[in-house]
Amino acid sequence: MTPALLVKGLAFAYPDGHQALYGIDLRVEPGERVAVLGPNGAGKTTLALHLNGVHTAGAGTIEVAGLPVTKVNLHEIRRRVGLVFQDPDDQLFMQTVGEDVAFGPANFGLKGAELDARVHQALAAVGMTDHIDRSPLHLSGGQRRRVALATVLACDPEILVLDEPSANLEPVARRELAEVLLSLGRTTLMVTHDLPYALQLCPRSVLIDDGVVVADGPTGDLLADSELLAAHRLELPFGFRLD
């Protein structure tokens, strides 16, 4: 079967010469939910920005459902890979929630009734239908995060990539977002250093540090390996138990 995502030997240096990725290998099957764990500066965001071609690989290849990430395929790649940025304020910029959610699918050519239907579906999926005419700026942090997710869901991506979805969320909003993510049933790659969140949402985890994959396996096994976690500046919250 064609993997949903196939990354081979991906290396990348920023224009200032800083090498952020040193050869990443990753294969994600359709329907899988995978957490990408790693400390600050590990290269998680840099990896995410490669998956939809925002950054261009210095070396290595990426394929999304069999389609290579190259300049000529970029528009289709961006439709297939839905990237939810870490800060919803980077993502939301229109006057109303509805316009913001329509922005992506309209760019991909949807119009009229079809576009409206897509906007409603996406907002319903995150439980924000009632807020369609409000300004994104007047929503709570958790609501903004869900609208940001809806703006990407509306593009009907084949793979959802979330950068630190639980960052800055209060406990209730964090749980509500988890429920939404579990209900979507989409192939998902979730970048995070929130280990309990990874355990709750993703059966499999990949641990990245210094631009390479250092572990890949069932999330429970990774989190049980306290030496591995300590070696990569990760730790479970105080009092958290794995059983």
């Binding site: 990237l83 304020d89 980077d90 993502q91 910029f93 922005f103 700026l137």
Partner: protein
Amino acid sequence: MSAGHAGTNVLHHPGDSPVHRLPPQVKIVAALLTVIGVVATPREEFWAFGGYLVLVVTVWRMARVPVSHFAKRALIEVPFVVIALLMPLLGGAAGALAGWNILAKGTLGVLTSLTLAATTTPRELIVGLQRLRTPAMLTTIATLMLRYLEVIAAEARRMRLARISRGHDPRFLWQVGATARGIGALFIRSYERGERVHLAMVSRGWRGAMPDRGVAASPATWLAGLTPVLVTAAVLGTAVLVP
């Protein structure tokens, strides 16, 4: 960006009047032609400028935007007024007429632009420019500038709060240094955020044009929207042709 829209929307006065509902491209053309008509009017035809003022105020009434909205914002034309008041000092009677020319035409130009901005959201303005076949590069730059303005205003507000909560009192002259350093930091942070906002737009398939969900304006709409221009043309014609 929490209060971002308040930042750019200082010029916009939300409403649901016939003027607000006019398609933006019609309003842009109407405002442009009106300003051209005003500028073309011979300066000694004092009554014509009175006529233009009545016209602008009539549009405000139809748009149900209070005069005070425009009075406050017209302050940006203070430099015009200063120049106009200096002219007679420099050039006697001819100078006085030249000063009047700048003052009358400058004021009407500013009021017309403010009327357009008060009844049209920034996004509509861009869509309007697009429908008028403005080169995509120009509308893209306009879109990003709007976005940056908002981002910068919000960032500035947050940083000011952070400074004030650490005991900075900008009333004291010797603290001007902190404000200046703040502006430097603001520039860098706004730049970085603007960059991320742009990436988030590109990730949702943006290729330089705002999605346009509207329809073309009918001849009747054009006629209704251009009524002020017809009035301007009538006033101008009378001023130029009738001895």
